[in-house]
Subunit: 144 residues, 2 copies
DNA sequence: CACAATTCAATTGTGCACAACTTATACACG
DNA sequence: CGTGTATAAGTTGTGCACAATTGAATTGTG
């Protein structure tokens, strides 16, 4: 008999579980904003700087147009975002915040705090986790 | 201007990114087995002990019947699994491995190794990451 | 300038994740 | 015994992820 891999040993499963648990915790908070977690991520990027092209958003988040195009349409129909074909380059679609979209950032302010409180980890542990995850992600991307 | 939360500070985004990067690395390996990552997780559980009820599988993986029912049907149509109504309790559906399903475990043996190699982290770091993630997940589940 | 190669966004199709609901069976309690 | 309640699995509907393809606009090169 081969030593079949065991579920409880897998870092990958631990990542998958932790990620779903974290977004599950965000869900009720984001419900108040009317956003899903991926939509919230897009808004985070736009709150930092806008307008942005679809490709640019995808670069920040690691998502492609197949995911973003319909998501952005939903944000547009929520009135948070506007999609405008760029004049200079007609291939590009620039994503602009609407006033409502900009205004939402103030309501989103307290959200990350709550995860930190629920995490049951110290600030140092969270910091270290964060930096380990970033190194892990970039290593995984490089070995493709 | 409000201090909007920043993407690059969020542990949640780091988890989400790392998780997707890890499953992306698994994908070509799992393609050889004809499995998706969640299907592979279900097989892992069954390789440890079978048969299992849908509820039981869901308990191990944190998934509900809405996710598992169609997934298990796909595993059945791949010939890896059999769904049998339990005689004692007609509500239950016991998931059995077929011979092909059992045999697949030997082909799956080397897979977790590869992630470890690609991770760019030392064994200790991986261990520590694993234990931090498990503590995090359980803390997040408790604060619901 | 012509036209091949590239780039950007959108579309199509498959398969999770998850909420809400449905159906069927088992169990508990008066 | 009968009826209400709980439980198991499945279904429906929405919204990601992601591969593969499409169509339109731009860029590079002869």
């Amino acid at each position: 008999m081969t030593d079949a891999p065991r579920l409880d040993r897998q870092v990958c499963f631990a990542l998958y579980s932790a990620s779903r648990a974290a977004t599950a915790l965000y869900r009720p908070l984001l419900d108040e904003l009317g956003l899903t977690y991926p939509q919230y991520l897009v808004m985070l990027v736009l709150w930092e700087d806008e307008p942005r092209g679809v490709k640019e958003l995808g670069g920040e988040l690691g998502l492609d147009s197949g995911t973003l195009s319909p998501l952005l349409k939903r944000l547009e129909s929520l009135g948070l975002v506007e999609r405008r074909r760029s004049g200079e380059d007609e291939r590009r679609v620039a994503i602009h915040l609407t006033p409502a979209g900009s205004a939402l950032s103030s309501k989103a302010g307290g959200i990350p705090q709550r995860l930190a409180e629920a995490a049951g980890l110290s600030a140092e542990e969270l910091d270290q986790l964060h930096s380990t995850l970033e190194r892990l992600t970039s290593a995984l991307h490089q070995s493709r």
